[in-house]
Symmetry: C2
Subunit: 305 residues, 2 copies
Amino acid sequence: MSILSVGTVAFDDIETPSGRANNVIGGACTYISLAATYFVKPVRIVSVVGDDFPQETLDYLQKRGADLAGLQIKEGEKSFFWSGRYHKDMVGRDTLDTQLNVLANFDPVIPPQFKNSEYLMLGNLVPEIQMRVLKQLPKRPKLVVLDTMNFWMDNALEDLKKVIKKTDVLTVNDEEARQLSGEHSLLKAAGVIHKMGPKTLIIKKGEHGALLFHKGEIFFAPALPLAEVVDPTGAGDTFAGGFIGWLARTDDLSFQNLKRAVIYGSAMASFCVEKFSIERLKGLNSSMIHKRVQQFADLVHFQPV
Amino acid sequence: MSILSVGTVAFDDIETPSGRANNVIGGACTYISLAATYFVKPVRIVSVVGDDFPQETLDYLQKRGADLAGLQIKEGEKSFFWSGRYHKDMVGRDTLDTQLNVLANFDPVIPPQFKNSEYLMLGNLVPEIQMRVLKQLPKRPKLVVLDTMNFWMDNALEDLKKVIKKTDVLTVNDEEARQLSGEHSLLKAAGVIHKMGPKTLIIKKGEHGALLFHKGEIFFAPALPLAEVVDPTGAGDTFAGGFIGWLARTDDLSFQNLKRAVIYGSAMASFCVEKFSIERLKGLNSSMIHKRVQQFADLVHFQPV
């Protein structure tokens, strides 16, 4: 099955307790797509960059199986830039700088040959732009996965609700699920969010794992305890990429398989945080990924008497 | 196998986002022992109360299988009292009042018939008092489980380290594991804490579950997503009671069985938080407990391909 991946491709300056990295590759769409290429090819990208974005990275993405026909390269303009500093807990972070640049006027255009994509991943972006993507598709994709964040709940809630209504799987973190639903209990929050549209909700809890709510059933995926988290940037996007990648590869939307997809997403995210930027996501292979999935299975396995 | 349970038996005033309860039964030893009686009887209690403590509660504990031969009742004195208010997240809390009362001069005395106890649970208490308990035992118990908190790391670290050195299983929360070890990664923290004595470490993460580290192996137990948490007080103690209860019942200290014990502890804790004080821990039965353990198994179960 084919994946259409829409979101940002960007530069990041990142500071974490482990060190810093300047002007490195970032962007939700970058992480999502790179992770997804380990499961299906091609991954069709719709995004925008300036002419400052390195050709070398574009070549690499293409080599890995990304189709860049929907990537707009704006001559004379600069790519989206984000700079952040993570707190000691590697969870909280301060945004130091955001330069929208090409993103300010981003108008996503879906190339005709991308319009039949079965799996759509809408990475975190202005909800109104996410909606413009949906409107360009003549036929509803088999699965629409939406990632978003508290910023849009604060600043564009009505637009966000419209796109959530058209979503099959929503991925947010625990605080965002609470904010969106007005419920503190994640169980109750899931009930409220299901009524907003998505029949499937994934609550990402970072180092505390992830919860999957699907038609009254619940699954809990742990996070792998790691000796060192170098850079959490992109972990949520990488999770989403692994998740939709696994689903597109297997084309099976049963609860059993959604659970596997959450674990594959978690496994990809656990690689992502081990190095800055997308470095750790380069040069993985199936055997490494399956081995890590097995570690997740072992981590929670017990035999009730 | 017999369990010796040492810790506080107390009154609490509790305020949570779900409501408030005044002058209700509390204390680490109370929760631990009550939870443990669902697995083995008798549970031998060493603690202290004033003459204000209700005979009705003592009768109830005895009826459930607690042996109160080591409970000192101080005539003319008042029981230990704690008052706290939980934050909206049900994790953070402010202590509003602490009245040590009988606890100020507590000198634990182990009755002769308790000295052969195979399983020792040292509930959160002044480390020096925990040590006095160990010193009264002519033979080292088969398993020593120690619960403690950041307060003792701040105020009695050297005493705490001495008792930790004599401990088999240490239970702390994630922030306490980080404070005690000086490591942010829980994996690294476990390595440091193993070197301090305990070959087994349990890191309790409340609504995010618990991690078990044992001789280089790791197990992750989830927390059950609940529609409503009424009162988190005693959840950690109840966890410890279910944990040591299961181990004493089965008398099997293999990693496989330690994992089960963590799940039984988690299951008991998931009951505890559903009502104020010890109310939900009254009137459980094996079938209810086993059913909940099965919910934990289902919650994390997936079939890797």
